[in-house]
C-alpha cells in the first residue's frame, strides 16, 4: 500500500510538479474555455439567424407565394443558403471542418485561436439552428393563430408569445449542445492549439505515463460540465416559477 502510494505520488510529481507542467494544463484550460465561450456565442447568433429564416419560410412561404410578393423570392433564396449550410456542417466531421478552415480558408491567418473559435462557432451554429427550429415548430399552431387574431403581426407574435415559450423548452437541449461543443474543442490540438486535451497529450509525450495526464484532463472536463449543468438547472427552476 505504502509502495503503491509512493509510486502514485512520484507519478504525480513527474507529471505535474516537475518543470511546472501543471502550468501547461492551466494554459490549455484557458484556451479551451476561451474557444468554447466565443464559439458558443457565434453558434447562438448564427443559430438564431438560420432558425429565423427557416421557420419564417416554413410558416409564411405558402402565403407569400400566393401573394406573389418579392419577399418570397428573397426569403426562398436565404432559405436555400441556410439549408446548404446545415447540410454541409452537419454532414462533415468537425475535425475535417477545422482542418479545412485552418489550412485552406484562413490559410493566411496567424491567429490560431480565432480561426478555431470561428470553426467551432460555425459548426455549433448549425446544431443550435435546428434545436431552435424544433422548439419553434413544437409550439401549437393555435398560438400563432391566437396571436394573429388579437392583432399581432407575425414578428410580434414571435417575440411576445412564441419565443418565451421556445426558450424554456429548448434550454436543456441547448445546454446539451454546449456540453458537446466544450468536449469537441478537444480536437483543436490538430491545428497546433494548446487546448486542455493537447496539454495533457504534451505531458504524456515527455513523461510517457498515460494515467495521470489523461485522468487529470478528464476530471477537469467533468467538473466544467457539472458546473454548467448546475448553473442551467438553476436557470430552469427560475423560469418554471412563472408557470404557476
Amino acid at each position: 500500500m505504502a509502495e503503491w502510494w509512493a509510486g502514485l505520488s512520484a507519478q504525480f510529481d513527474l507529471n505535474f510538479i516537475q518543470k511546472d507542467r501543471w502550468l501547461s494544463l492551466l494554459r490549455g484550460l484557458e484556451n479551451t474555455l476561451l474557444i468554447t465561450f466565443f464559439a458558443a456565442i457565434i453558434g447562438i447568433l448564427l443559430g438564431i439567424i438560420v432558425a429565423a429564416v427557416r421557420t419564417t419560410y416554413d410558416n409564411n412561404g405558402e402565403n407569400m407565394k400566393y401573394q406573389k410578393s418579392i419577399g418570397y423570392y428573397i426569403l426562398g433564396f436565404f432559405n436555400v443558403i441556410c439549408k446548404i449550410y446545415l447540410t454541409i456542417i452537419r454532414g462533415t466531421p468537425v475535425v475535417v471542418q477545422l482542418l479545412i478552415i485552418y489550412f485552406i480558408i484562413f490559410a493566411n491567418s496567424t491567429n490560431d485561436i480565432l480561426v478555431a473559435t470561428l470553426a467551432f462557432g460555425i459548426n455549433s451554429g448549425a446544431y443550435v439552428a435546428e434545436i431552435l427550429r424544433g422548439g419553434i415548430m413544437a409550439i401549437d399552431k393555435g398560438q400563432f393563430e391566437a396571436g394573429r387574431s388579437i392583432g399581432f403581426n407575425y414578428l410580434q407574435t414571435m417575440i411576445y408569445i412564441i419565443i418565451p415559450q421556445v426558450f424554456k423548452n429548448v434550454l436543456p437541449t441547448l445546454l446539451n449542445e454546449f456540453i458537446v461543443l466544450l468536449k469537441e474543442t478537444s480536437v483543436a490540438g490538430y491545428v497546433g492549439i494548446m487546448d486542455l486535451t493537447r496539454a495533457g497529450n504534451s505531458i504524456r509525450g515527455v513523461t510517457f505515463s498515460a494515467f495521470m495526464p489523461l485522468i487529470a484532463v478528464a476530471l477537469i472536463y467533468l467538473v466544467i460540465v457539472m458546473l454548467l449543468t448546475w448553473l442551467v438547472g438553476k436557470v430552469e427552476r427560475r423560469l418554471r416559477k412563472s408557470e404557476r
Binding site: 490560431d112 490538430y190 497546433g192 509525450g205 505515463s209 498515460a210
Partner: protein, 259 residues
C-alpha cells in the same frame, strides 16, 4: 431449469475470463510458438522512415528493417499505426512488442523502455521559407518566432526545452506534414524536424529551404519493454547481422538517395 441455465452461464463466463487471462499470458511466451507475430508500433507520417503507401500498408526504412529482423527471428511482422506519443506507453504495457518510428534514444525515454543498438542516424534540421531572416537556431532563440514541430518528437522535446525562456514559441502539430503546411502558409516561421522527412517536404513545397546548420544530431533505435530483455537481445543480434551484411545500408540507400 432456470438454475441449470444460470449455472451454465456462470461456467461460460468463468471460462471466457480464464481464456482472456490466458491470452495475456501467452503474449510473453509468444516467441516460442511456431510462427509467432512480432507487433511493431509506429506512426506512419515520417517519410522516408515510415509512410503509408496507398493509404494502407506502412512502408519505409523502419518497416523494411523490421521485416528483415522479423525474418531473422522467424516471426511474422505486424505493423500497427498509432499516434507517436502513444508508442512508448503501448510498448511499455506490452500491447506491442516493439516500437520503431525513427525514435531517438533520450534519457527520459530510457526510464520507460529499453532501446536496441542504433540502426540509423538522424539529424534534426530547421526548415524556413526562402529569404527568411532566420539563419540558425540561435536566431530563433534570440527573436520572437513561432516554430512548428510534430507533437512528442525529439524536435518538439528539444525545442520546447531550449525555447522555454525565449520569446519564441513552439507550436505542436499532429503530423510533420501539418507543421510544414503551416509553414508554407506562414502560420509558423520555421519547422524543426528530422533531416530525411525534411528533404521530402522541401521537395514537395516550393519556397522552403533547409538551413545548413543542423539543430541536433541523434541516433535512431528500436524500443522494447523493460521486462522483455529476451526480445531485446534477439533484436540486437539480428540488427548486428543485418548491419554487418549491409542489409540495413541497402534499405536506407533505397529510400534516401544521395544522402
Amino acid at each position: 431449469m432456470k438454475k441449470i441455465i444460470a449455472l451454465i452461464m456462470v461456467v461460460a463466463m468463468i471460462a471466457s475470463v480464464a481464456a482472456l487471462a490466458g491470452c495475456g499470458n501467452s503474449n510473453t511466451a509468444a516467441t516460442e510458438a511456431p510462427k509467432p507475430v512480432l507487433t511493431m508500433a509506429t506512426n506512419a507520417s515520417f517519410p522516408p522512415y515510415e509512410m503509408k503507401e496507398d493509404g494502407e500498408n506502412v512502408i519505409g526504412i523502419d518497416a523494411e528493417i523490421a521485416a528483415a529482423i522479423a525474418d531473422k527471428l522467424g516471426m511474422t511482422l505486424e505493423i500497427v499505426d498509432i499516434e507517436f506519443g502513444a508508442i512508448i506507453a503501448g510498448v511499455q504495457s506490452g500491447k506491442y512488442d516493439m516500437g520503431m518510428a525513427g525514435m531517438t534514444v533520450t534519457e527520459e525515454r530510457l526510464e520507460s523502455v529499453n532501446f536496441s543498438t542504433t540502426y540509423a542516424t538522424g539529424v534534426q534540421v530547421i526548415i524556413v521559407p526562402q529569404g527568411s531572416e532566420i539563419k540558425s537556431f540561435d536566431d530563433i532563440k534570440a527573436g520572437e518566432y513561432k516554430v512548428g514541430v510534430q507533437l512528442s518528437t525529439t524536435g518538439d522535446i528539444y525545442a520546447t526545452d531550449d525555447l522555454a525562456d525565449s520569446k519564441s514559441e513552439v507550436v505542436e502539430y499532429e503530423t510533420g506534414n501539418d507543421a510544414v503546411a503551416a509553414l508554407a502558409s506562414k502560420k509558423v516561421d520555421a519547422v524543426i524536424i528530422d533531416n530525411e522527412p525534411a528533404k521530402s517536404y522541401v521537395a514537395a513545397n516550393d519556397g522552403l529551404v533547409i538551413l545548413d546548420t543542423d539543430y541536433v544530431t541523434e541516433e535512431y533505435a528500436i524500443c522494447v519493454a523493460k521486462e522483455n530483455t529476451e526480445l531485446l537481445d534477439k533484436i540486437n543480434a539480428a540488427l548486428k547481422d543485418l548491419i554487418a551484411d549491409g542489409t540495413v545500408k541497402k534499405i536506407v540507400d533505397k529510400y534516401i538517395t544521395a544522402g
